[in-house]
Subunit: 298 residues, 2 copies
């Protein structure tokens, strides 16, 4: 995985986090001191023609929507509420202004749904359509959830059923509501969004938290037609992956508002001691190590 | 200018600035309430192979440097000090990991010079090299300078001599020091950086401030070899363009620390009533309207 090596290099080069920056590279968002009560969450995600979408398959509006949605998902996964975006767009010479406007119509539509304001950006010429969105959200300090807080004996959960990234990557719904319900009522130890497949993303939580995990194939909630392999190793499903103590999970599943709010969470495994590694219990009784592979961004 | 029309469309669609956002689209940075004393400044600028650099001409390190420098310039131009960046990079399949690392070496070098921390980002595959940087800086509330504060009878100044964007766009020095000196000691009414040529950028200050201007060719400080036409209509020089009352300008030019600090500012015109339009007094005695054209990003 070139991407993982590169991120390691960048992380090493970035050095220590200075005053004012609570968390830098390594989580879904950077975390910046804001005021006494809140942190500012900040993320940037880029979508590129040919890698994240295909102009034959996707409408301009759907592409704009996706560029925002992947960023909303980053804010959600740390317990935050998205507020502002900047949109940098590289527009091919072959694309006319009405196409570009349609991209922005898609952007403004989802921004409106989530109460987000477009606060700036950049428009430039490019060979292929590329959109980079930078997003700012806020989280109450005590509600911040990172990748590094998973504890031995935690249960591992996902929102879901896990979506088929191949089919739904243009229309997934970022899980802000699900995340807000969790962090406002329960103690969530770790969380991230599954942009690169559950295997790789579970591995990231384990590495950041210095723990191991056991996942159970049988308990994976798969959306119709989605193979277990794709849930594990293909990304772009944008569900939330999180861990909490079994006590908290018990409280969560006996919460009468779950059904009323239409919220679904599923237990797919447990956190173990680091020495036990990262494994999957397959349906046929085999135990397999989780491969650290996933959606290849690079 | 397709870009201008598009920005107008985006600005209109973005609607009103909500609570917490002091300024949205239309300045070099978005301005967000931070704490009692400071605003957070936030900008995103994208550089694309073929538009902003050419792999034959530019080293990977120089490209990384430029991607950061154009963003630092945005923060400087509103009176702020840059602090954090996220870096989203689209890497062509043909570019190996050592090339990508060199881009980041260029990024980290300039970040170190300016006290900036890389706090996050995204790495993806792309057809052509593209880097989008999002930058956060801070400014004391009373020091914030925007495009919209120019007043009739202000003098128009630039840092300089104005650089030749065609030759120096990879190695220009963002004018943080020059801007900090100005905002910390003087009352600057409006400011922006000249990324698109002085004509277009002067026009932006005039439109935002609802004033006109008269520029004087004879007073333009041009770096060696730079034509007046290029200073006006070709961008990428990244000097600061600003206005202040003649009283403040007089104080500035009698400031004994100017020379000691090696700071250079030049008067190139004056702000007039809006009805007088935007004009240039050419050396041969002709008066020309300023054309609203400049560096074509799109």
């Amino acid at each position: 995985m070139k991407e993982l090596k590169l991120i390691e290099y960048i992380k090493r080069s970035a050095g220590k986090t200075p005053k004012g920056l609570k968390l830098g590279i390594g989580d879904d968002c950077a975390v910046i001191d804001h005021d006494g009560k809140k942190y500012l969450l900040w993320a940037s995600d880029m979508v590129v023609e040919g890698t994240h979408f295909d102009l034959k398959e996707a409408s301009f509006g759907a592409i704009g929507r996706k560029a925002i949605a992947v960023n909303i998902s980053d804010i959600a996964s740390m317990g935050g509420v998205p507020k502002f975006v900047t949109v940098s767009i590289g527009v091919p010479r072959t694309m006319n202004i009405s196409g570009t406007k349609k991209v922005f119509d898609g952007i403004f539509k989802i921004c409106k749904e989530y109460g987000i304001t477009v606060a700036g950006g950049d428009t430039v010429k490019a060979e292929r359509l590329v959109i980079d969105v930078s997003i700012i959200g806020f989280v109450r300090k005590e509600k911040l959830v990172t990748r590094s807080g998973a504890k031995e004996k935690d249960l591992v959960l996902v929102t879901g059923p896990i979506r088929d990234g191949k089919k739904e990557h243009l229309k997934f719904i970022p899980r802000v509501k699900e995340a807000q319900f969790l962090v406002n009522k329960y103690k969530i130890n770790s969380m991230m969004d599954t942009s690169d497949g559950i295997a790789l993303d579970m591995g990231r939580i384990c590495d950041a938290s210095r723990v191991g995990c056991r996942l159970f194939e049988g308990s994976f909630p798969l959306s119709k037609g989605l193979s277990f392999e794709d849930a594990l190793y293909y990304g772009e499903s944008f569900e939330l992956l999180f861990t909490a103590s079994s006590r908290e999970v018990k409280k969560l599943f006996t919460d009468s508002s779950l059904k009323r709010e239409g919220l679904k969470y599923y237990i797919i495994g447990e956190i173990t001691n680091r020495k036990k590694g990262k494994s999957i219990f397959r349906d046929e009784g085999k135990i397999e190590p989780i491969k650290m592979k996933g959606f290849e961004h690079i």
